[in-house]
């Protein structure tokens, strides 16, 4: 969908700005709010760029720099922390060769921390895009990431 389509879908209304921004971000192959998209949006919805970015930058869910196709969000809140969130972080960092906030060279993964995902019963937990994973350990994580890689390389053939 183009920015214009998205704005129309939400009836060009200011109160839908956050929904619109989410959708624009999701539609971008690099999972972020690009300068071009923000400028287009500003023209369509008639809200100044400074206002849009002022609003969006308040929320950590929006990014203004390119990100991977898959965003890994590792829960850092207390229950997950107690059950080893730090190990999970390390495992992902070693496996992918990136640190928190970074993106893999192939543009596939970005690693981020987040607060409670609301699934503390299966701590430690992460989310990859809209998918949640719980009861994790190093091995499980390795598998999940490998699966995604495999799927992607098939898609590319």
């Amino acid at each position: 969908m183009t920015v214009k389509d998205i704005v129309n879908k939400y009836k060009n209304k200011r109160e839908n700005l956050l929904l619109i921004l989410h959708e624009i971000q999701n539609c971008h192959p690099q999972n972020y709010l690009s300068k071009e998209d923000i400028e287009l949006l500003s023209k369509e919805i008639k809200i100044p760029v400074s206002d849009i970015v002022g609003t969006a930058s308040f929320y950590s869910m929006f990014s203004f720099t390119p990100r991977g196709k898959y965003i890994i969000r590792v829960c850092e809140s207390l229950p997950c922390h107690l059950l080893g969130a730090q190990t999970i972080f390390k495992a992902i960092e070693t496996k992918l060769g990136i640190k928190e906030g970074e993106t893999t060279k192939d543009g596939l993964f970005t690693l981020e921390g987040t607060s409670c995902l609301g699934i503390c019963s299966v701590a430690p937990a992460i989310m990859i895009n809209d998918e949640a994973y719980g009861n994790l350990d190093e091995e499980k994580i390795g598998k999940i990431l490998d699966q995604i890689r495999e799927k992607e390389s098939k898609n590319n053939d």
């Binding site: 300068k35 923000i38 008639k46 100044p48 760029v49 400074s50 206002d51 849009i52 970015v53 002022g54 930058s57 308040f58 203004f64």
Partner: protein, 897 residues
């Protein structure tokens, strides 16, 4: 509103219920510190908590800037509890504030520093948090050091709500919160228009005037209140002077027209005063080269030559060009010099080129050719019809009033303009007429108004004449007919007409897009027609409001720098008037109407005019069909030019006299709303330069005519005696915001809006005008319509603004604006060069691809000598006012590879 009794710091005061404690305290002379609030601008976010006070009975301290008073409140503004709270707020603020006051530009004028001093806070109990944000020095005028920002939000408020540029906002959150420009870029790369409004309101040293850095601090400056010389808005501000130099401009909240607002030219464009290429001595051309000369030599030569030419070829072989950049007093003296000393009415100035059609048209219809209403009334109009004025760029402060009317007061704005100007964003309706078809559009609007019975019958019957004639003509212009001529959809014409006629007050605002046509006078008559038809003259927030371009173009006209009028529009052909001036000046005067600017140059070209005295004008850049104009100036036997820089015209002169800038002289100028305001001398003339009024006096003296004044105030005394509309203008009355003419006597308060119960000419007169095409239309060979104008960052021929470092940095070169579709057909891209050619000349310029220009129409400004738009324009004249057709000519465009 109800009066209530409250007690502040033990003092009983009566207060209006509902006002804030802060407001009442200010009225009672009690000082409460504030950091975020700007109550005078209606901004009280209540966020900084610096203004807290104790209200007996209230559980917590309250922010006085937002807390409304009611009966019986007992308030303490300086109790220990209050001071303690303020201390904590302050300590929180300075925990992350660099404590480098000793090198800070704001030292001495900083709210934070004052608070710390008052409360005796030396350091913060919360330790130090360093923010380490990089300096933003991208903007040529403003430095942003966000490490010093206290997040008061004042800058965001003024940028978004008053300036309405929306360049900045708050971004991020918690400890990372900061002011961002656009998507957090350098200010230069954002929407920012460098008005500096934000700098004016920042309470701390976070926003700083770049050029003034390191050049002095507040207590070292002498402030001299004066009036801006860049445009007809007539903003006031203070020159900040240190050791004989103008260091910077600061706005002054007492200014009537602009308050604390200024545009980029006014706030940051005065660095040209101290440029080292100022003319500092008289120059005489010998063997084709300028040589320095003494004033005595220069005066002698000019006097000899003028006398000789007058004797050999008669007075009317001499001519004078006066200046809309000079003061009222200087314009008066120069026209006196022309008429009494040289003996000719050949005196004119560049209003001929911008608003002579206004003077001619409105004088016929109303009896007086000036803006009928005042700038401040615009914000209260219920509807505004804006046509042929790119107000945002050419009259920035008036644009703020228009925006205020629309966004704060719910006015409906109709923009009729071939270009998609910035204000089109605010418009209920934008009518894009084909350039040069304004008469048809107005007739179409009036056709609808009459057909739908929306005209103001009472007003027409009681206050006007000529209605039947008008009606007969406009009835031919049905919306469908007009759509064919103008390209504006018939339905939009209907809608616009209904808004115009049914709004309680409609203010019509126009500028050079209406006047600079061969049908200029007809266009102006049409504006008067529609305003009278709807009863929109002679009442507040309505009227016909031509925006005059240069700072004193109104005054130059008022003071008679015109070939057919003495000062105050008194006709040279009227024998009573002539006798009056003869007697006052002690000479015989001519009753033959003189030549206009373009006619003077034509006569010079033909050898009939032998000598011209040009005061601070630049016809070799500003006149249409420049090649011809420059040729004419070269042919002039003896050309004298006074100016502050070596202009294109001065290059051609035989004698050049160094004049001064407005910082170096006293006088008055009259803004577009007829307000006569003071300019005040802030520094001594640079080098050997002299104010023009002195030059004219001394030259007259040399030529044997006694012209002697000690100061411009004395000249104004003479003006007021001879000029009824300026009859009550005396310097001692001008200190508080000036006076608006007509001001017939020393007790008259001035006139806010004209034609209240009676038009200046008695009854208002309708003129039936038929549509005529522009003189030159596009054809196969020259397929584009070429139209000209100005941009925000430059003034007139660029002589001054291009010498201002920042202005030139931000807008360094001529751009030709082309519609995307045309650009594609021509195969040119943004930033590439094209050759634009008309039947008269050609120029090279960089392309800007923009929707602002309609298809088939290209736009260029005339500020740049290396791509002088006026080499192309047509000098075809309006038959009545003799204004040239700058707004329409035909050109062809070619890509340069």
């Amino acid at each position: 509103m109800k009066e209530v009794k409250i007690t502040i710091d033990g003092q009983e005061v009566m207060a209006q219920e509902g006002k804030t404690i802060l407001e009442i305290a200010i009225e009672a002379g009690i000082k409460i510190p504030t950091l975020c609030a700007m109550p005078e601008l209606g901004f009280t976010p209540g966020s900084c908590r610096v203004c807290v006070v104790e209200v007996e009975g209230a559980p917590t301290l309250v922010a006085s800037c937002v807390y409304p008073v009611r009966e019986g409140l007992i308030i303490h503004t300086k109790s220990e509890r209050v001071l303690q709270a303020r201390r904590i707020v302050l300590e929180l603020l300075i925990a992350s504030h660099p404590l480098d006051c000793m090198t800070c530009e704001k030292n001495g004028d900083c709210v934070l520093e004052d608070l710390a001093y008052e409360l005796g806070v030396k350091e913060s109990r919360f330790g130090r948090i360093e923010r380490k944000l990089p300096l933003d020095e991208s903007n040529p005028f403003i430095v942003r050091d966000l490490n010093k920002c206290v997040l008061c939000r004042r800058c965001v408020e003024i940028c978004n709500e008053i300036q309405q540029t929306y360049a900045i906002n708050f971004g991020y959150r918690s400890s990372k919160t900061k002011v961002i420009a656009d998507g957090d870029n350098g200010l230069r790369y954002s929407e920012c228009v460098s008005c500096g409004q934000c700098v004016a309101v920042c309470p701390v040293g976070a926003l700083i005037d770049k050029a003034a850095q390191g050049k002095g601090r507040t207590w070292e400056f002498t402030k001299v209140k004066t009036t801006c010389n860049y445009c007809g808005c007539g903003c006031n501000f203070d020159f900040n002077v240190k050791e004989g130099k103008v260091i910077k401009v600061t706005s002054n909240p007492e200014s009537v027209v602009n308050g604390i607002n200024l545009c980029v030219k006014g706030r940051f464009g005065y660095d040209y005063i101290h440029r080292d290429d100022r003319l500092t001595t008289p120059l005489i051309k010998k063997n084709g080269k300028f040589e320095k000369a003494s004033w005595e030599e220069a005066y002698q030569l000019i006097s000899d030559k003028f006398t000789q030419i007058k004797k050999e070829s008669g007075s009317d072989s001499l001519a004078v060009l006066s200046s809309a950049k000079c003061t009222n007093e200087e314009n008066y003296l120069l026209m006196k010099f022309s008429r009494a000393v040289l003996g000719t009415n050949n005196v004119d100035h560049c209003a001929r080129l911008c608003h002579s059609a206004t003077v001619a048209g409105l004088a016929q219809a109303f009896g007086s050719g000036a803006m009928t209403n005042s700038i401040k009334e615009i914000a209260d109009a219920s509807a505004i019809y804006l046509t042929g004025s790119n107000t945002t760029e050419n009259h920035p402060i008036i644009a703020l009033e228009i925006k205020k009317a629309v966004t704060k007061n719910g006015a409906k704005l109709i923009v009729a303009d071939p270009r998609e100007i910035e204000l089109a964003k605010y418009a209920t309706l934008w009518l894009r007429q084909r350039p040069g078809t304004d008469v048809a559009l107005f007739n179409g609007l009036m056709n609808v108004i009459i057909n739908e019975g929306l005209e103001d019958k009472e007003f027409i019957a009681q206050r006007t004449e000529g209605y039947e004639e008008l009606k007969k003509t406009v009835l031919k212009y049905t919306p469908e007919v007009v759509e064919k001529i103008t390209g504006v959809p018939a339905d939009d014409i209907r809608k616009a007409a209904r808004i115009y006629a049914t709004a309680p007050t409609t203010s019509l605002i126009y500028s050079m897009g209406i006047t600079q046509h061969t049908t200029g006078t007809d266009n102006v008559l049409s504006t008067a027609n529609i305003a009278m038809l709807t009863g929109n003259v002679g009442k507040e927030s309505a009227g016909v409001n031509p925006l005059r371009g240069q700072s004193n173009v109104q005054g130059a006209c008022d003071l008679g720098a015109l070939p057919n009028f003495y000062s105050g529009y008194q006709k040279v052909t009227d024998s009573q008037v002539k006798d009056k001036f003869s007697k006052a000046w002690g000479v015989d005067l001519s009753d033959k109407v003189g030549l206009t600017v373009v006619e003077i140059l034509n006569a010079a070209y033909e050898g009939k005019i032998k000598s011209i005295f040009v005061m601070a004008e630049n016809p070799a850049m500003s006149d249409p069909d420049l090649n011809h104009a420059r040729e004419a100036l070269k042919k002039t036997e003896f050309l004298v030019v006074s100016d502050v820089f070596m202009t294109e015209t001065a290059e051609l002169a035989d004698v050049v006299l160094p004049g001064v800038t407005i910082a170096e002289k006293d006088g008055t100028i009259t803004n577009t709303e007829r307000r006569v305001q003071r300019i005040r001398k802030a520094i001594e003339p640079i080098g050997d330069s002299k104010p023009e009024w002195k030059i004219i006096c001394e030259l007259s003296q040399k030529m044997g005519y006694n012209m002697n004044y000690n100061n411009p105030g004395e000249i104004m005394e003479e003006i007021s005696q001879l000029t009824p509309i300026y009859g009550g203008i005396h310097y001692n009355r001008l200190d508080d915001g000036g006076l608006q003419w007509p001001c017939p006597d020393a007790h008259h308060p001035g006139t806010k809006y004209l034609h209240k119960d009676k038009f200046s000419r008695g009854k208002g007169k309708f003129f039936a005008v038929e549509f005529k095409e522009a003189a030159e239309l596009p054809d196969e060979e020259y397929p584009f319509i070429f139209t000209t104008g100005r941009v925000l960052y430059h003034f007139h021929t660029g002589t001054i603004t291009r010498r201002s470092k920042g202005l030139n940095e931000i807008y360094p070169e001529a751009l030709v604006e082309i519609n995307p579709q045309d650009a594609e057909e021509l195969g040119v891209k943004e930033g590439e060069f094209v050759e634009v050619a008309s039947r008269r000349g050609k120029i090279k310029a960089k392309v800007q691809v923009t929707e602002k220009s309609g298809k088939g129409v290209v736009f260029m400004s005339f500020h740049f000598h290396e791509a002088a738009a006026n080499l192309l324009t047509n000098s075809a004249l309006d038959p009545v006012s003799k204004i040239p057709e700058y707004k329409v000519c035909a050109v062809k465009i070619q890509k340069i590879s």
